[in-house]
């Protein structure tokens, strides 16, 4: 089985936001806990406030991203990096032909490995890709990076393009994909399917990249990668986002706190009978818990299950009456009903029934 390497972008975003040295180190520690060992950082962004990255480097290998036109290789050397990604527009072969050899000589002198990061490559045709591959093969680059940060590609075409590129170039190929239209996970999956092993990701899609947790889960689930998920993956991702003062949305795929919360009658009934009816995987796998929520969409099974857990057996007619009140209250407060509220509704409906009898 191929091993996958994640090139993190969460840290780069934290640097862009000028997090403190301590925050950056904490983030690096959390990322390492997820099994992420590599991070690419933008050298220009680092230079804006020059945070100390020694703490970070205890956990992560860093590679510097810099423009091929004005490569800041001195910074990469100063930061003790082993490699740089030289960014250049894919459609401008003349540009990298002009600049790459001299940048590589300079990098070599500083003991830096050079990768060539080709922006806007997703819009190129097969012959254009072949022409680029031929040019790139004239240089001894460590890798080329297929860069679709503008998110112009879709999974089916990314797959076809990457198959061509992998076949034509002599060096390893990586991908760096943007999520502007919500396709970065699918495009990363397509890349892995095409044979790519180095993928740029960020926890929860921070920075606009492919969400790490989605890609890792998708390749495991759909391509059968034997990838051991870290314990409490959702919790660690939440902590990593918190370093950047971000909260992971409750419905965020794989790691959101509410993705195993069920409310609708049909779903609660199903999940009680057998979780696999309405759950794509077990919540424990990602460190989450199943929740049964009472609200506007609840059905009688959910209400009866709740009350039987409290030792109260509800008759059908009682349950229907209670359900009406639950729906009214849920719409009024525009949210789920708490256990306390549910018991209050039950008590007041009991009282009403007693009045009705007397």
């Amino acid at each position: 089985m191929r091993r996958l390497t994640w090139h993190d972008q969460t840290l780069n975003t934290a640097i862009h936001w000028q997090c403190s040295d301590r925050q950056l180190e904490e983030l690096a520690r959390l990322l390492a806990g997820l099994g992420i060992r590599q991070a690419d950082i933008c050298l220009d962004g680092w230079r804006r406030y020059c945070p100390d990255l020694k703490g970070v480097q205890k956990y992560l290998h860093l590679r510097g991203r810099t423009s091929l036109a004005e490569p800041e290789l001195g910074l990469a050397e100063q930061l003790g990096m082993k490699g740089v990604a030289l960014v250049c527009n894919a459609a401008r072969q003349d540009r990298f032909n002009l600049l790459l050899a001299s940048a590589m000589r300079d990098a070599d002198r500083r003991c830096l490995q050079s990768s060539l990061q080709l922006e806007d490559i997703a819009v190129l045709s097969a012959p254009e890709l072949a022409a680029i591959a031929e040019q790139v093969n004239g240089y001894d680059v460590a890798s080329i990076i297929y860069d679709d940060r503008k998110a112009k590609g879709d999974p089916l075409s990314a797959f076809e393009q990457l198959v061509i590129i992998i076949r034509k170039v002599n060096c390893p190929v990586e991908v760096c994909l943007g999520n502007a239209f919500g396709l970065a996970t699918a495009n990363s999956l397509a890349a892995v399917k095409a044979g790519i092993t180095h993928i740029t990701t960020a926890v929860a899609g921070i920075g606009g990249y492919a969400p790490w947790e989605e890609v890792v889960f998708a390749v495991r689930q759909l391509l059968g990668f034997d990838y051991e998920l870290p314990q409490d993956m959702a919790g660690i991702c939440r902590q990593a986002a918190a370093v950047l003062e971000l909260s992971v949305p409750e419905s965020k795929a794989i790691i959101g706190q509410s993705i195993f919360a069920h409310e609708s009658g049909l779903h609660v009934d199903g999940v009680i009978k057998s979780p696999e009816l309405y759950e794509p995987f077990s919540p424990e796998l990602v460190g989450l818990k199943r929740q049964l929520i009472i609200g506007k969409h609840s059905g009688s099974i959910a209400i009866k299950t709740k009350f039987s857990a409290w030792g109260i057996g509800l008759e059908d007619v009682e349950c229907k009456h209670l359900l009406d009140r639950v729906r009214t209250l849920a719409v009024k407060k525009k949210a789920a009903i708490t256990d306390t509220e549910l018991l209050q509704l039950y008590r007041s409906s009991l009282k009403e029934q007693n009045y009705a009898r007397t």
Partner: protein, 284 residues
């Protein structure tokens, strides 16, 4: 770039979207969302589930009576009570959902496939006797065989249904499997297919687009992608991707769709993550 020629958006923010745990819209909010969707160019709006009771019925009557420039329809199980509730709201187009996978038929309903067909037939005929058009929902289609789905589609077509929904109920498909399944189904299915994605693996938008590239015409979406668990394919993502990646129009005003996404998120009490595609501040 692979082609995507056409897609018709079917919005289910007010039905499957609202079904997300903890979300409840008031009648006025439901009307406002439906109105905004119709104004943005959405031509099919799944507005809710009348069988849920008084509040929902009141909200749905408001929406039906607003005479929006869109076909507004209701979700039903295949049972007379549900259909009666929809008729009482004044709906003329009904969606009737039945499970199609063995798992859902035998483990959830604990019934047989014949029983499901019989229920569907009675429900469809009853609704049609009141002059309604019907689309049939194939729940958990991605865990049924293509043969089971096509059988249901043929049965529904014979009953006079006008469309069938293929629901990836637990979001287990990926764009590649979606593409190969949908190419096959679109070729043999006697009814137009509506593809209904879930975002459990983060692939809902990609799967929806892949289905559209494979001959499926109708795309089921929700504003801001709200919905059960990790949600559905997001209206604004599908519409924006169609324009920016494939260069075709979905008939939806994208600026309006983004605004609706933001408003719906606000009505759900959810903050928009800055890196949420299309409507996150990092992208807009």
């Amino acid at each position: 770039m692979q082609e995507l020629k056409q897609a018709v958006i079917v919005d289910t923010t007010l039905r499957d979207g609202e079904q997300a745990a903890g979300i409840a819209f008031t009648a006025q909010e439901k009307l406002a969302i439906a109105t905004a969707l119709a104004q943005a160019g959405v031509t099919w709006i799944e507005a809710g589930t009348p069988a849920m009771g008084r509040e929902e019925v009141e909200a749905l009557r408001l929406i039906v009576n607003a005479r929006l420039k869109a076909i507004v329809f209701a979700w039903n199980r295949a049972c007379r009570g549900d259909i009666e509730a929809s008729l009482a709201c004044g709906f003329e187009f009904l969606h009737i959902s039945v499970p199609v996978s063995d798992l859902h038929i035998y483990q959830k309903l604990k019934k047989s496939r014949e029983w499901v067909y019989q229920q569907l037939k009675e429900a469809v005929l009853f609704a049609q006797s009141h002059g309604c058009y019907i689309s049939v929902g194939a729940e958990d289609a991605s865990r049924a065989t293509p043969k089971q789905f096509l059988e249901l589609a043929e049965y529904s077509a014979r009953l006079g249904a006008v469309r069938i929904r293929y629901a990836d109920t637990i979001g287990r498909l990926d764009p590649f499997s979606t593409s190969s399944i949908m190419k096959y189904l679109a070729r043999y299915c006697p009814l137009p297919i509506e593809f209904h994605a879930h975002n459990d693996l983060g692939l809902a938008t990609a799967n929806t687009l892949a289905a559209m590239q494979s001959g499926v015409v109708f795309a089921s979406v929700t504003a801001a992608g709200i919905g059960e668990r990790a949600g559905n394919a997001a209206l604004e993502e599908v519409a924006a991707a169609m324009k920016e990646i494939y260069g075709i129009s979905s008939g939806i005003d994208i600026a309006a769709a983004k605004k609706i996404g933001c408003q719906v998120a606000a009505l759900c009490g959810r903050n928009i993550f800055p890196y949420k595609p299309v409507i996150g501040t990092a992208f807009s």
